[in-house]
């Protein structure tokens, strides 16, 4: 358990802990500049400082810490992917997650729930069986289960989905978990700050200087910085930054929307995902149902949300859980998802020396936060790709060697 909480509880004065150091002016030069103070960027800063001793690092953030997709996802953590590259990578992430609260001395409300990916068709059952076997081969706890198992785990589910789409089985992934997403960014940010990393919020990058194919500096809304290494971890803003250095990528941006219900007594222990109904749902520690659906059907570069989405998602949710018909929706929002053609990320080195990408995280980035930080820190420190991310290089789109991960996407996009 986080000892800081216990000390805080027993203290007489209840001192207000400061999460991050007070803002300062930008220094003229840094060893590494990380663009984006979300989970991924801050995790990279944390591991750069902790494991590689590189602390002369600035994390630049246009908005505020964790205000992008880190604070907009539906907090699901799992490793039941389809490709060997994906399974190994996400499994390393899940293992890091399990110790993270202790590591940070901060409660992440990491809660192992068990994750069902429902299959409503024979072909979906076949994909689940395939995923289960790949998972087992790499030591990940996954199995194909039948409708009886699902009904026992969650008695409130309508196993026929109102007759539209009877559930034939599911891929059950016992380590599937949820965590409090803001705290992940805060934990990494605080840990990085304590080790000397500077976090600069309200600091937009307006240009990246490249000379002779190498990064030499970054222009920001608060002045110029000289640096030879830039890590770009900006999710939905990735194309804007790759345009600054003249790199072409396959990344395209569609909004992904989500919503939460009013809080309820705990009734949903597990996480449920249905690709056919395009929904996923879990119940947070606050009792709210956290619900998501598929991507918006066309490119938009803003975080607007729509009524169409709420209506469509609610209709499908009622097929699965009819008793929710009287429950109100409290909030809805959107994030900009940086999608790739093969549903795998784009990580590592780029044709511009000193410009590193941690991108293409589309709708699957939150769960990978710890392992992305760890492998990107390694990649930046050693200037060569970490062995876990070689399958995710930008080069794969030149060599036609894609990492087909679409079959493991949570919902059919």
């Amino acid at each position: 358990m986080p000892w800081r909480l216990l000390r805080f509880g027993l203290s007489r004065s209840h001192p207000e802990p400061r999460m991050f150091s007070a803002p300062t002016d930008l220094k003229p030069a840094y060893d590494v500049v990380i663009i984006g103070a979300g989970g991924h960027g801050l995790a990279a800063a944390y591991y750069l400082a902790r494991e590689h001793g590189i602390t002369n690092v600035a994390v630049l953030e246009k908005g505020y810490i964790g205000g992008g997709n880190t604070g907009r996802n539906t907090t699901i953590i799992r490793s039941n992917y389809l490709t060997p590259e994906g399974v190994k990578f996400y499994d390393a992430s899940v293992k890091l997650w399990q110790d993270l609260s202790e590591d940070f001395d901060l409660n992440l409300f990491y809660s192992t729930r068990g994750h069902f990916t429902l299959a409503h068709t024979d072909s979906a059952v076949r994909t689940m069986r395939w995923r289960a076997e790949v998972n087992k081969h790499y030591g990940v706890d996954s199995e194909l289960v039948g409708p009886d198992f699902i009904k026992r785990a969650c008695p409130s589910i309508d196993i026929t989905c109102n007759g539209h789409a009877p559930i034939l089985g599911a891929l059950y992934h016992a380590p599937g978990a949820i965590a409090r997403h803001d705290a992940v960014a805060w934990g990494y940010g605080r840990g990085a700050c304590q080790r000397g990393v500077e976090i600069h919020q309200q600091t937009a990058v307006t240009g990246i200087e490249v000379k002779g194919g190498k990064v030499v500096g970054v222009q920001t809304s608060r002045g110029h910085i000289a640096t030879n290494k830039v890590l770009c971890a900006v999710a939905g803003s990735t194309p804007r930054l790759t345009d600054m250095v003249g790199i072409r990528t396959p990344i395209y941006i569609h909004p992904l929307q989500a919503m939460v219900s009013e809080p309820m007594k705990p009734w949903l222990d597990h996480i449920f995902v249905s690709g056919s109904l395009h929904i996923y749902i879990s119940q947070s520690a606050r009792g709210e149902l956290v619900m998501g659906a598929s991507l918006d059907p066309y490119e938009v570069h803003s975080t607007r949300s729509t009524l169409d989405f709420t209506e469509g998602l609610s209709a499908h949710m009622l097929d699965m859980f009819p008793f929710l018909s009287h429950v109100k929706v409290n909030r809805q929002w959107a994030g900009m998802a940086d999608m790739t053609p093969d549903f795998a990320p784009v990580m590592g080195k780029t044709p511009v020396e000193g410009f590193y990408l941690d991108s293409g995280w589309g709708t699957w980035g939150f769960k990978a936060t710890p392992v992305c930080g760890k492998t990107m820190a390694w990649t930046v420190a050693k200037d060569q790709p970490h062995e876990l991310i070689t399958g995710f290089s930008l080069e794969r789109f030149r060599n036609y060697s894609l990492t087909g991960e679409k079959g493991a996407a949570s919902v059919g996009h």
Partner: protein, 85 residues
């Protein structure tokens, strides 16, 4: 509900339409290099801006081109391919 001006059917709910990506001229498959072809197949202009895109009104199977601001999600104008812009 968001409306899309179809050049044939007038304003219709956007849910009746399918987005088919940015209008992009293809390189000549017979003469271009593998790298040029890979660039055409995979790479996209993912940055925000006013873009020309393929859309289809599915009930009438009308394919047309829309000029749209992808940051504000505002359709500026639409026309039939080969027709007057």
């Amino acid at each position: 509900m968001k409306l899309m001006p179809c050049p044939v059917n007038g304003s219709r709910p956007v849910s009746e339409f399918v987005y088919w990506g940015e209008l992009r001229p293809a390189p000549d498959a017979a003469s271009c290099s593998d790298a040029q072809w890979a660039d055409h197949v995979f790479n996209r202009n993912g940055a925000p801006g006013v873009k020309r895109e393929w859309w289809c009104h599915t009930p009438s199977n009308t394919w047309f081109i829309a000029e749209r601001d992808t940051e504000k999600d505002r359709v500026l104008r639409t026309w039939l391919p080969g027709g007057a812009e």
